[in-house]
């Protein structure tokens, strides 16, 4: 299977930033794919399949991050992750106003 590398730059746009729930949703989505997923913020590069690693970015609303996806299903993985972040982590929205995550 061919190794392809796909990149994208994104801005975190949900008001609460990449706190635990969106970090979990991101890692969960990334884990569905065989490709390696890396998130880069400034000079920090972390494993996008690890909730703990994503939290170390402390990425608030407005933070720019780069995604680098490498592997056989890289195009699909990148597209799914970009959609998740761009949509502001839709499945956390209902809960956020009520409980805060």
């Amino acid at each position: 299977m061919s190794e392809t590398k796909q990149c994208a730059t994104l801005v975190i746009n949900n008001p609460q930033g990449l706190h635990m729930r969106p970090a979990y949703l991101f890692a969960e989505m990334a884990a569905k794919y065989a490709s390696r997923v890396e998130v880069i913020k400034d000079d920090i590069r972390i494993d996008g399949k690890s909730v703990l690693s994503i939290l170390t970015l402390g990425a608030a609303q407005g933070t720019e991050v780069a995604l680098e996806v490498t592997g056989p299903d890289a195009p699909d993985a990148l597209s799914a992750l970009v959609q998740l972040v761009s949509a502001g982590f839709p499945s956390e929205k209902d809960s956020e106003s009520e409980v805060g995550t």
Binding site: G17, R21, G58
Partner: protein
């Protein structure tokens, strides 16, 4: 945000008696209330908010660690504490393992940046196996305080 800016050392519990998820949350919120960090008339409401957050997905992130948390309007700054259960508690963690080490965090809803910075610090330190092992082995609140101080002085993570 350093541990000393949000971890309330008077509320640290190194010998949690709770044996299940809800009891751990009750014990740690109770400890924060008893040490004067939370208003007693808000205690039940905060417990329910943390439990509700757990229903969305366990904050047990694996390796025997959980970070039960919520945002709550009754606090004006991030309030945290640490609990240790030597035997471990079933917490529906991502890796299915019991949890020995709890970082509880209650943040004001209108300061998402502070909440993120507290989580950032917790997650950075928790990536260090030595830090986690030392904490899990702590026998007194004083031990925990000392480890947190060392972490605040960057002695675990470069």
């Amino acid at each position: 945000m350093k541990f000393c800016n949000f971890v309330k050392s008077d509320a640290i519990k190194v010998d949690l008696i709770a044996k299940d998820k809800e009891s751990v949350i009750r014990e740690l919120v109770g400890s924060l209330t008893a040490s004067g960090q939370l208003k007693s008339d808000e205690q039940e409401n905060i417990i329910q908010a943390i439990l509700k957050r757990e229903e969305l997905g366990s904050t047990g992130i694996g390796r025997g660690i959980a970070v039960p948390h919520t945002k709550h309007p009754s606090v004006t700054e991030p309030i945290g504490t640490i609990g240790i259960s030597p035997d471990g508690v079933e917490f529906q963690s991502l890796d299915g393992e019991k949890v020995q080490l709890f970082f509880m965090l209650i943040s004001p809803p209108d300061r998402p940046g502070d909440h993120l910075r507290a989580l950032e610090n917790i997650s950075k330190q928790l990536q260090d196996d030595v830090f986690c092992r030392f904490l899990k082995q702590s026998k007194t609140a004083e031990d925990v305080k000392q480890i947190l101080e060392e972490a605040d002085n960057n002695q675990f993570v470069s």
